[in-house]
């Protein structure tokens, strides 16, 4: 498949690193000069921009947390005057004060370039009709993907999220070939399409999924239901939005746009940089962002970097599928549980649907984990033992994966909540 910008995406490692070093020096100086928060942090740590002589020197600069960014609400992180800002986005703010993100005209060009690369890697071309089923709001997802797909030359359907039956009608009538959505919403759309008996008239061939962590099992389910190539991409408002990285057709990690982002992996406990290939928290530094640079931002996402070459010919570092955001992690009776581990057991299980809900309660000072799944296979109603077998099988597999006893509850189809944006599957009542 095509590579959008082979000069960068397939460049020699030494050339990539030369570009990174030059841009890192610029970005650190830019933040130091124009964003008081970064200036103060560096002064306090006794670091000057001129101390950055190699890429490794970045470890001298203090890490930045989400809480620190929140303290700068709304515009104290801007490194340019507002007249140079042409767009403002913000994170949803569901977990607290939203994080705002400003963009200059050139930032939007950079963003579109990053998306054009990952969308091309995922299979989109100028011949495609792309249905963007992300909400066109303050959220970076829709506008981010939109800019890059337009750059490629896709015919974009900016339908936004919601009104799922209409989504399916448009998908069928307009002949959409590329779908942009969260994996959970894409799955729900497939379900509605099946109910409308429209799935066989749908011409989708590519799915570019992102904005929430998902599992290989979820990907397999989406590929099976729609008959598509499903790739995943990654990004976050704090550093730009989607476009930090994305998978190619080989689906073996997300290629990082390294000329725009410098990726490190740290030990989330100590903050120490970990050697290449080790699992830890992803830390990102923007290398080309004008309006709002981010220096050593702690993403709270747990992953691993991969430097082995990819069969697609791209030489960029890849990052593994996000195992889970560290703040999504549940601690149940002292055991760390990522919702993605539960999903990997549930999706694709015979007899049940792909939707699920996780409920955590505390009874008599003990944590209790309940997983609800929908019973869809009516043939299991022949015998009680069949239903119990389904439940016991899921429970046994969850116990193997989590080392925990989990209560598995079968519920009627279409009773668990469906999501049009990012799925919220965990209800923690503790």
């Amino acid at each position: 498949m095509a590579v959008w910008n082979p000069k960068i995406e397939c460049a020699k490692r030494s050339d990539v690193e030369a570009i990174q070093l030059e841009r890192l020096k610029w970005s650190v100086q830019h933040a130091y000069d124009h964003v008081p928060m970064y200036h103060d942090k560096m002064v306090k740590a006794g670091v000057k921009p001129s101390d950055i002589r190699t890429l490794r020197d970045i470890a001298k600069i203090p890490l930045t947390t989400k809480t620190e960014l929140r303290g700068q609400y709304p515009f104290k992180l801007l490194a340019v005057p507002m007249r140079e800002v042409v767009r403002i986005h913000a994170s949803s703010g569901t977990t607290g004060q939203p994080i705002t993100a400003g963009y200059t005209r050139r930032d939007l060009d950079t963003w579109a370039e990053c998306i054009a690369r990952i969308a091309t890697a995922g299979g989109a071309t100028e011949n495609d009709i792309a249905q963007v089923s992300f909400g066109y709001t303050l959220f970076t997802g829709a506008f981010g993907l939109h800019g890059g797909l337009e750059k490629i030359g896709c015919a974009i359907i900016p339908i936004s999220s919601g009104n799922t039956e209409r989504q399916i009608n448009i998908m069928r009538d307009f002949g959409s070939t590329v779908l942009i959505a969260t994996p959970s919403y894409a799955l729900y759309m497939a379900e509605v399409a099946e109910r409308m008996d429209a799935l066989r008239d749908i011409r989708l061939r590519v799915g570019l999924f992102g904005a929430e962590a998902s599992t290989e099992e979820m990907r397999a389910e989406l590929e099976r239901r729609y008959g598509i190539l499903a790739t995943e991409n990654y990004g976050l408002t704090e550093v730009m939005g989607p476009g930090v990285s994305g998978e190619c057709e080989y689906k073996c990690g997300m290629h990082i746009n390294e000329d725009c982002f410098l990726a490190e992996i740290i030990d989330p406990e100590t903050g120490e940089v970990l050697p290449m290939g080790e699992q830890g928290e992803l830390v990102l530094t923007t290398l080309a962002k004008e309006a709002q640079p981010a220096i050593r931002y702690r993403t709270r996402d747990i992953t691993r970097l991969i430097e082995e070459p990819c069969a697609c010919g791209r030489t960029q570092l890849r990052m593994e599928k996000i195992k889970g955001r560290s703040d999504d992690m549940l601690i149940i009776r002292g055991v760390n549980v990522f919702p993605s581990q539960i999903e990997s057991v549930l999706v694709g299980q015979p007899g049940i649907g792909p939707h699920y809900e996780i409920v955590v309660t505390r009874e008599h000072f003990t944590d209790h984990l309940q997983v609800k799944v929908e019973l869809v296979d009516a043939s299991l109603l022949e015998k009680y033992s069949e239903l119990e077998k389904v439940r016991d099988r899921i429970r046994a597999q969850l116990r193997t994966v989590l080392q925990l006893d989990v209560e598995v509850t079968l519920v009627s189809p279409n009773t668990l909540k469906r999501f049009e944006g990012k799925a919220k599957r965990v209800t923690d009542l503790r």
Binding site: L375, V376, D377, A378, S379, L381, E382, K383, Y384, L387, E388, R391, T409, L410, V411, S412, P413, N414, T415
Partner: protein
Amino acid sequence: MYVKQISVFIENTPGRLAHFTKLLGDNNIDLVSLSVADTTHFGILRGIVADYEKAVKLISENGYTVKLTDVLAVSVPDHPGGLAEVLETLSGHDIVVEYLYSFVRNAGDHALIIFRVDKLDEAEKVLTEAGVRLLSQDEVRGL
């Protein structure tokens, strides 16, 4: 001569069974026979309705998981030992009864009982040979 039984998955939460039976009632579907078994977390409602095609359509459209199963509607002499005779006939032919439940109504001096067995064809044959009457779908419809 089989009759069609509906099996419906019912969550064991307050009001679910009431909700389901109201759905049938509102749509004028009569349960002529019924059995509900439950565990802590879920139940299966099994029953015979006059118009099963209509019932299945309605039930699944309303978001329930529903399955049709072939069962035998057996007319059992309504006197002590009547059921034992039928069961002995079945067990004498190595036919296993998975479950059974009785009708809400009866037919004079005969009780009507629904049997679900592992070997349907054989059960039908041996019962008929033993002079036990089995009801057809149409007869059930007329009850």
